[in-house]
Symmetry: C2
Subunit: 188 residues, 2 copies
């Protein structure tokens, strides 16, 4: 047992110092924070990652198929299953970003949106927030207009196929697996 | 339709250049990679984050309770529910790290371990890999011996309480939510 009960007070940011800006800083800025703990202890040079907030969308068509991709992704070092998603633009609402990315990346639009949660990526260093969504009754509306560098193939999976692929580790990027898992739990 | 079918060839890393090492580099090193796409295009200064691989563990006791925490976490800007976890030491196997962290952080040990998957955190920039586990039939073995900076309270939640907390967004850090969601799906 701790000598004192936890106060569960948040840490306080006393100062922020940018130490690296990649390019124009849009995709990555590293800061050192000076952080004060509830007991008064001060930590200098706590690394903090500023990367864009992003959305991921699990989209179910009106026929009950799930709109996914098979794609290459640099950090996955090869092929992975994926769901739609992308960075939130400055001043854009997460839901609007999700609707935009679904349409751009898949050509689908959906009338029914359920938020699946908002999560900080790295509990210590930040690295942006993930806003996850379930879109239902999606229908194809326009050709794909994504500007992504990655090669990708659109797939329509049954719920069982998507669940099996998740369990087999085929969604290899963390927020994509999170979105699929939360969607499956929500759909019951 | 694309003019050419996707080859789904991985990108190639042509060069790596460290550009920032925080402290001794154990927790964060930033690199710029020179990356070649399958069509031959070369991208210079692709930011890449080296952070430690880590484990998270959803542990169910022999009585059917789930070993969780309520804790403060800097990036969550306040209180969040959490599961056990931590960084993998150099040359440590993920399962060994999971068993060590569960014991250190909760005092529990478990005989039954199920891997829930391995995921890269950031599909573009790396930022380490998450190795997620379900531990079953956990029993208390020793006092808590964690050296974490965060204040935390151990909680034993029923499966329904954990599922409700997940759906309510109370696991506010991405890999923790992923681990809980995958564990709930696995438990059926």
């Amino acid at each position: 047992m701790p000598a004192q009960p936890p106060t569960l007070q948040p840490w306080t940011t006393l100062a922020r110092q940018p130490v690296l800006q990649a390019g124009d800083g849009r995709f990555l800025t590293v800061e050192y924070h000076t952080v004060q703990l509830p007991d008064g202890q001060v930590i200098e040079e706590w690394p903090w990652l500023r990367t864009p907030d992003f959305v991921n969308i699990v989209a179910e068509t009106a026929q009950g198929y799930f709109v996914c991709f098979r794609q290459t992704k640099y950090a996955a070092q090869g092929v992975t299953l994926a769901v739609a998603g992308g960075y939130i633009e400055p001043d854009e609402e997460p839901l609007a970003a999700a609707q935009r990315e679904l349409l751009e990346e898949t050509g689908y639009a959906a009338p029914d949106w359920t938020p699946l949660g908002e999560f900080v990526v790295d509990g210590n260093r930040g690295a942006g927030r993930a806003y996850l969504f379930l879109a239902r009754n999606a229908t194809p509306l326009q050709p794909i207009a994504a500007d992504d560098l990655e090669e990708q193939e659109l797939l329509l999976l049954t719920r069982q196929e998507m669940a099996d692929a998740l369990a087999a580790g085929e969604f290899r990027v963390l927020p994509w697996a999170t979105a699929v898992a939360l969607a499956l739990l929500r759909l019951g």
